[in-house]
Structure formats: structure tokens, C-alpha cells
Amino acid sequence: MTVPLPDLVKIVLWAALCGTLSMGLYRLLSPQKRLAAAKDDATRTRQTLSGYDGSADGLPPLIRASLLAALRHMGLCLGPALVSSIPVIAIFLWMNTVYGTPAQEYLPFGPSWFRAWYVPFSVVMLAVSMVIKKAWRIV
């Protein structure tokens, strides 16, 4: 016997799946050790630059090192972040065809735009992603 689930529950389940899939893919594709090192390096060089109290000649190399470290960090996570979004986009588009008709409202409160499917979906997906990011210590 199958029990039909309410649409809101289905949206929440899809959102949880989407968040898990996206974070799993990101973790798989991103060089986590290098990312952690790059993040530490970016923070350290920025702190060094912030507390610099020496001669003017010492500033440009510090600024250069700091910017390079920040760009390296961003460059390392850009590709995996974009690729891990692909399943989210696919599910999002499919959900929009199933749940995205203007007449359908999924929340009993708030303005009309707030009652659309993408509000609970986005909130749950973001929450699940953040929990997974923290639990798996994803950088």
C-alpha cells in the first residue's frame, strides 16, 4: 500500500536530496587539502598585511602575496562549485515544471511570492547543505 505524500513534504525531501547531492559532488570534485591550505594561506597573508608596520618598500610584495593567495583560494573552489550546481539546476528546472504553476501555494502564510514551491525548497536545501558542510568539514 502506498501513501501519497503531501506536496510540501515531497518538496522538502527533494530539497534535502538536492543539498546532499550538491555538497557530495563538491566534496568529491574539490581538492579539499589544497583548499584548506589555500584558505589558511589567504587568511595568514591578509593578517600579516593588516598588521604590517615596516617600511614602504615591504608593502607591495605583501599586497601581491595576499591578493595571489585570495585569488588562488577562489580559483580552487570556483570549478567544483559550478560543476556541483549542475544537478541542482536540473532538479530545480524539473521541479518548476511540476510545482511551479502560479495557482499552487505550499505555505499557509506570507505574501503570494513567499508561498511558492521554491521558498521551502531553497530554505531546506540551504539548511541541509550547511549542516553537511559542517558535519563533513567541507572547505
Binding site: G19, S22, M23, L25, Y26, S30, K39, A42, T43, T45, R46, L49, S50, Y52, D53, A56, L59, L62, I63, S66, L67, A69, A70, L71, H73, M74, C77, L78, P80, A81, L82, S84, S85, V88, I89, F92, S122, M125, L126, S129, M130, I132, K133, I138, V139
Partner: protein, 86 residues
């Protein structure tokens, strides 16, 4: 950056000129990481700007501090010179 990389980057950037709008999306958690790194870059730019702009002021304050410390030491030394040997 070599000429080839520059040409490729310029060719890619020129694509933005022929599309009327670009639809893009970055996933939630990974997007947060990306946003975090972007904020880091912005912070670095601000810190660099602050370091450059505030350097003359900090230098001036440092010199003043050093000058004040020197002046405090000088009277002590004078006093030591003036006092008769016991």
C-alpha cells in the same frame, strides 16, 4: 600571463558582449564556499587599500611615539648628569 592565455581569456570575455543576458546559478553549500572566498578577496583588497592609505599616518604616529619616548628618556638622563655623586 602569456599571450596565449591572454588571447583565450579575452575571447571568452568577448562572448559576454554577444549574449543579451546570462543565466547562471551556483549551488547552495558550494556557493557559500565560493561566496566566502569572494568575500576573502574583497577583504584582502580592502586591507591592501587600507594598508597603502594609512601607511603615512601610521608612520607619523610611530615617529611621534618614538619622539615622545626619546623626550621622556632625555630629562631622566639630564637629571642623572646634574645630581651630585653620592
Amino acid at each position: 600571463m602569456n599571450t596565449r592565455t591572454t588571447t583565450i581569456l579575452l575571447a571568452m570575455a568577448s562572448l559576454f558582449g554577444i549574449v543579451p543576458s546570462a543565466m547562471a546559478y551556483v549551488g547552495p553549500g558550494a556557493g557559500l564556499t565560493l561566496v566566502g572566498s569572494f568575500i576573502g578577496l574583497c577583504l584582502t583588497l580592502l586591507v591592501a587599500l587600507w594598508a597603502v592609505l594609512s601607511w603615512p599616518i601610521r608612520r607619523l604616529l610611530k615617529r611621534r611615539k618614538q619622539g615622545a619616548a626619546g623626550n621622556e628618556k632625555a630629562p631622566e638622563m639630564d637629571q642623572a648628569h646634574d645630581s651630585p655623586p653620592s
